[in-house]
């Protein structure tokens, strides 16, 4: 019999870290991780045998995050990468505290995709192939988006002001 605690628990610290970095709220982040683990357990048998558990878990987690973002988006509003930006920085609210040279604060100004890429590759140390699996994109696309994400982050850190979020009406 498969022991899920051996299969899944070693990944929990990384899943929590990624979730927290995306939502910046411990409770909400752990809710996401819990949902992710529930899905992983219930769908374990549907997983491709050769698939890497780590990138599979991050795929589920990111999809849950995106679902949550979509649910929060008001009906009739444009949905897409830009729309995700609104929810991108939960600590944003009205006041944006600017801390120069703070990569974590600078990250808030980027799109969801750029943030997820920088976190998964830079912090979680996923290989480019694993990241391509998580995003469901060819590895070449991942590479070019990673370059763009790094450029965005550099600019955000360099400028004294955070990159203003584009608001979608």
């Amino acid at each position: 019999m498969l022991d899920f605690s051996i299969e899944l628990e070693p990944h929990i610290p990384a899943l929590r870290r990624f979730a927290w970095a995306m939502v910046r709220d411990s409770q909400a982040a752990d809710d996401l991780v819990q949902d992710c683990l529930e899905k992983a357990i219930s769908r374990w048998h549907t997983r491709r045998q050769d698939a890497d558990a780590r990138s599979w878990l991050f795929t589920i987690l990111r999809n849950l995050f995106l679902n949550g973002v979509r649910q929060q988006a008001r009906r009739g509003r444009h949905l897409g990468i830009e729309a995700l930006d609104d929810v991108a920085s939960p600590d944003g609210g009205g006041e944006r505290v600017v801390i120069a040279k703070d990569a974590l604060a600078a990250l808030d100004g980027l799109t969801e995709e750029h943030r997820a890429l920088l976190l998964l590759i830079g912090v979680e140390e996923l290989s480019y192939q694993q990241a391509a699996d998580v995003f469901g994109l060819p590895i070449g696309t991942i590479m070019s988006r990673l370059s763009r994400a790094r450029a965005q982050l550099r600019r955000a850190i360099e400028s004294d002001e955070r990159v203003p979020l584009r608001r979608v009406k």
């Binding site: 899920f4 605690s5 899944l8 628990e9 929990i12 610290p13 990384a14 929590r16 870290r17 927290w20 970095a21 752990d30 809710d31 991780v33 819990q34 683990l37 529930e38 357990i41 219930s42 649910q71 703070d102 990569a103 974590l104 600078a106 990250l107 920088l118 976190l119 590759i121 830079g122 912090v123 140390e125 290989s127 480019y128 590479m143 070019s144 990673l146 370059s147 790094r150 982050l153 550099r154 850190i157």
Partner: protein
């Protein structure tokens, strides 16, 4: 050297930062960077940003795993859901001893809940959480009828709900019945039973007539108040409290077990 320069691309620079290049390729990039200080500075910036992110986020990965995320806890909850489905399939009677559900139509999804952050929750659950929020704060008037008059309380609420109720016993879990009250829910009535433990922590069990056929055991949370809700035999239940999800689940399961047809019904005369 110049040939190598020409071949270096952005992907090489990223691969260099991320340590995803072959040793040979990494060596070529290093030589390129030595000859191109401006690019080298940029790569250094990227690397510093990545290290900053790692360092700032390290504390989360270093925390012990919260117990609710333990695989064993998640599996226990899944089992509870599965058992619930079985139980509903067995069409048991527990709290519901006699029928008389006629005229009690589905109220559960009729209107949107009033509190915005509870949007998306079934009305019954939203009502249960609101009622908990309001009455569990009360020191003197927490309940309308105290537990001392339990028989009267149960008869009264059963009559108003339209089905006979019994009150689950949570004493073994450390929660004593304080009493209960009648609540409005849409145009109908709901009952709230309140429990308290020795430390003053309060739980409420919300019961209403409900024709919903959604038999899942659901968890919802707004703010620090959590609720497990389920429907059974024409009644909707919600176990509500500001305690950990695991503890609340344990209590909801206890209530549920007291509905188990395999066990003798405690007080059929109520």
């Amino acid at each position: 050297m110049t040939e190598d320069d020409r071949l270096i691309g952005e992907d090489d620079l990223d691969g260099f930062i991320d340590g995803q290049l072959s040793e040979r390729r990494a060596g070529e990039v290093a030589r390129y960077l030595a000859a191109n200080p401006q690019v080298a500075a940029r790569v250094e910036q990227d690397r510093a940003a990545r290290d900053d992110l790692r360092q700032r986020l390290a504390f989360i990965a270093e925390q012990p795993i919260p117990s609710r995320l333990r695989v064993a806890a998640i599996q226990a909850r899944r089992r509870a859901v599965w058992m619930g489905r079985l139980r509903v399939a067995a069409a048991c009677a527990g709290l519901v001893i006699a029928g008389g559900a006629s005229g009690w139509e589905a109220h559960a999804y009729l209107e949107p809940p009033a509190v915005p952050q509870m949007r998306g929750l079934p009305v019954a659950t939203a009502d249960a959480i609101s009622a908990h929020r309001v009455y569990s704060m009360e020191t003197i008037h927490a309940v309308e009828v105290a537990a001392a008059q339990e028989a009267h309380l149960v008869q009264w609420l059963s009559r108003r709900i339209g089905q006979k109720l019994t009150v689950p016993d949570l004493n073994p879990q450390g929660f004593a019945l304080m009493g209960g009250r009648l609540l409005p829910t849409g145009s109908a009535s709901a009952a709230q039973f309140m429990y308290e433990n020795r430390t003053g922590q309060r739980l409420t069990l919300y019961v209403r007539a409900n024709a919903g056929d959604d038999t899942e055991f659901r968890f919802a949370q707004t703010g620090d108040i959590g609720a497990f809700s389920w429907n059974e035999e024409g009644l909707g239940f919600a176990m509500v409290g500001s305690i950990s999800r695991e503890a609340l689940l344990g209590l909801a399961e206890t209530v549920w077990r007291q509905l188990d047809p395999a066990r003798p019904v405690p007080k059929p005369s109520l």
